[in-house]
């Protein structure tokens, strides 16, 4: 396996940091592209050799591609208004790939999301062949922005003949992000769990990052799209129980059958349509399409990752929980180094 120079965007973020570590552990040189003003480790066991600070929306990042063999594009905005997420996630990706088109780099891995699928159209198992969202603007801002990011990246990859691999990640969790939107809704001392037996499409952050590193190394990944989930047997009820127990919370779980909760969301939606012609700004839990994308009891298949890449997550659920809540050291030490910093 050859040593590659890999540019990682969003390298200071939750997933991006772990992707940089996973690539460094495999012997690759990582150049981090991070948001202007972000403070990161520049000495010691840093998972990168160089840092470029830039605003993808406005700065010209062409120089960051000099000598780069591949791009792992993790940067995206997960909160904020519609226009903020569209600007960061869609416009940022567009400008990044336009800069890449002017370089010799031709390999690209995109961090996408399971939120691009039409969850209402899936019964049983969601695979890479499942339909994409057809009523996009009834979905939350994150789903809209990630869908458009994928569209823009695919189009530019076709136009510039990039070798694109898309990884549609499930709920990424780990140290610092233990609580997940798929767990339900907290109400004071109670926590509603919608569909307690639902198996969550989880991917532990170090597993997910290892999958990105595997895709960079594995030539069979080029041109493919993969769903990234660990496939562990973690139900919403069990995961929340572990979370509450390990964080010492006194909040009590309340099971709510999925069908009952969905009926409530549909009723709210019907009232909104009848009384206010759909103009009422309801919380996402009361919008059926959004509710289904978060809680629908669907099994997400990761067979393609195993079949095509022969990849399996390095940590099982028990190990992932232990590493998350006991803040264990990374399993391999990184080399000590001084990092070169460029402000674009």
């Amino acid at each position: 396996m050859s040593i590659l120079n890999v540019l990682v965007t969003g390298a200071a973020g939750f997933l991006g940091q772990h992707v940089a570590r996973a690539l460094t552990r495999r012997g690759h040189q990582v150049r981090a592209l991070i948001r202007s003003g972000t403070e990161v480790q520049v000495v010691g066991q840093a998972p990168w050799t160089e840092i470029y600070r830039a605003d993808l929306r406005t700065d010209s990042v062409g120089p960051a591609f000099d000598g780069v063999d591949g791009l792992v594009h993790v940067a995206a905005r997960v909160t904020g208004s519609y226009s903020a997420q569209m600007a960061d996630t869609v416009l940022g990706s567009e400008r990044l790939l336009e800069a890449m088109a002017g370089s010799a780099t031709r390999t690209l891995v995109l961090a996408s999301s399971l939120s691009v699928y039409d969850w209402t159209a899936v019964d049983g198992t969601l695979t890479e062949e499942s339909p994409l969202e057809r009523d996009l603007y009834r979905r939350d801002v994150y789903a809209i922005a990630k869908t458009w990011q994928e569209r823009v990246v695919r189009r530019l990859s076709r136009e510039h003949s990039f070798d694109l691999t898309v990884l549609r990640c499930g709920f990424v969790w780990g140290p610092g992000r233990e609580y997940l939107a798929a767990l339900g809704q907290r109400l004071g001392r109670w926590h509603l769990v919608f569909g307690p037996a639902t198996r969550l499409p989880l991917t532990y952050v170090e597993n997910c990052a290892d999958c990105f590193a595997e895709v960079v190394d594995n030539r069979r990944a080029a041109g493919e799209t993969f769903n990234v989930v660990d496939g562990h047997d973690a139900t919403a009820w069990r995961y929340l129980g572990e979370y509450l127990r390990r964080t010492g919370s006194s909040v009590r779980r309340v099971p709510v059958p999925y069908g009952v909760a969905l009926a409530g969301a549909r009723l709210a939606d019907w009232i909104n349509e009848r009384c206010w012609r759909g103009r009422a700004r309801l919380p996402g839990l009361l919008i059926p399409r959004r509710f289904q994308s978060r809680f629908k009891p669907v099994r997400v298949s990761a067979h393609k990752l195993r079949d095509v890449l022969e990849w399996r997550p390095p940590f099982d659920l028990a190990q992932s929980l232990q590493r998350t809540y006991e803040a264990l050291e990374p399993h391999t030490a990184l080399p000590n180094r001084r990092v070169e910093v460029h402000n674009v």
């Binding site: 416009l91 996009l136 206010w276 009422a280 700004r281």
Partner: protein, 349 residues
């Protein structure tokens, strides 16, 4: 049917597009943005017939009746001139231009071509402001003595859109981040106090680490019908947009973000009784406002932009009926004269 087009698919564009989508007599013919992804997504979401990345190509191809310009301020002038040249009416976000001289050219061009030019003073058309306007017009307010406008806004780096934030930081626009909001303050003061005669302003930077050139602004204005105090703070919290109009018969206070309105009027009878009655009436007004505000927030997606929707609705109605638009060229000139006077003082610090 009037054919509308929009240039600049950023933050405020969403409100313009949502309103255009709701207007039955308007068809959205095109959306343009330099980003293909943003142009195409806006076109798909709001049902535009076409999307473009070059505004001249859009103007040539679809020949719109009205062009909305919602790009960062430095590009407004050229885009508006091109749209007028293409024979379209123009609705441009504030500030219409970043230099007063450019505005004169733009106004002259609109007048010569007999096209409507609207600068977005959307707060003038918010329900509480329109209520104060009608109180003033009916004479209930008496003569206007003084106007206070105070905008408190937390404006961190991530809040404005990227291209816009850069403009506000690098002083390519007079007043930086504060200058961006001055047309709102100036249009409200102008509406009630009239064209200005003299101005004193104070610009300061309270936080050294702030990325904006100025973060506090105060001004005293002597105007044709009265005086005005304008204030803008990027530190005072919570966010609020206060308008208070003092007349010879009545004082009216409005909060434009939650759309509350409280009237303090001269009462009949002995002063202590009149004062108590006034306070009870104000408490009732506030209670009503709070409930109405909550209901509106729940059931109406326009939020604080109801004034923009009202302005656009009136503008299109005027274009169709051939009547006077809700904002005149003279009004734009006078408001921008006030903005220029306020920002001219900035240079003294």
């Amino acid at each position: 049917m009037l054919r509308a087009a929009l240039i600049g698919a950023g933050e405020i564009a969403l409100q313009h597009l949502a309103c255009l989508q709701a207007l039955p007599t308007v068809t959205l013919a095109g959306v343009c943005d330099r980003s293909r992804g943003l142009a195409e997504s806006a076109a798909e979401r709001f049902g535009a017939s076409a999307w473009f990345t070059d505004h001249r190509a859009m103007l040539d191809e679809i020949r719109p009746d009205v062009v909305h310009i919602t790009t960062p301020p430095p590009s407004h002038f050229q885009l508006a001139m091109d749209a007028l040249e293409a024979g379209a009416h123009v609705i441009v976000e504030k500030p219409a231009t970043t230099a007063r001289e450019s505005l004169s050219v733009l106004l002259r061009s609109a007048a010569d071509k007999q096209r409507v030019l609207i600068e977005d003073y959307n707060y003038l058309f918010n329900a509480p402001v329109q209520r104060i306007v009608s109180l003033a017009q009916s004479g209930d307010l008496g003569d206007i003595v003084h106007v206070e406008v105070f905008l408190c806004l937390e404006l961190d780096e991530s809040r404005p859109p990227a291209g816009h934030a850069r403009v506000l930081r690098d002083r390519s626009m007079p007043g930086g981040a504060i200058g961006d909001f001055l047309p709102h303050l100036a249009s409200l003061a102008h509406c009630f106090a009239g064209p200005h005669r003299a101005v004193r302003s104070h610009w300061s930077k309270r936080s050294v680490s702030s990325s904006w050139p100025w973060d506090e602004f105060r001004a005293a204005v002597a105007a044709e019908r009265g005086t005005a105090m304008l204030a803008l703070s990027l530190h005072a919290q919570p966010d609020a947009f206060w308008l208070r109009v003092h007349g010879t018969r009545m004082r009216v206070s409005a909060e434009l973000y939650d759309r509350s309105l409280v009237v303090d009027r001269l009462g009949d009878g002995p002063r202590p009784i009149a004062t108590v009655c006034n306070r009870l009436r104000q408490a009732r007004d506030l209670r009503r406002t709070a409930l109405r505000g909550f209901y509106t927030k729940l059931t109406d997606g326009r939020g604080i932009y109801d004034g923009l929707w009202s302005l656009l609705t009136r503008t299109y109605a005027a274009l169709q009926s051939g009547t006077a638009p809700p904002i005149s060229l003279r009004q734009i000139a006078e408001v921008n004269d006030l903005v220029a006077a306020l920002t001219a003082e900035e240079c003294r610090f």
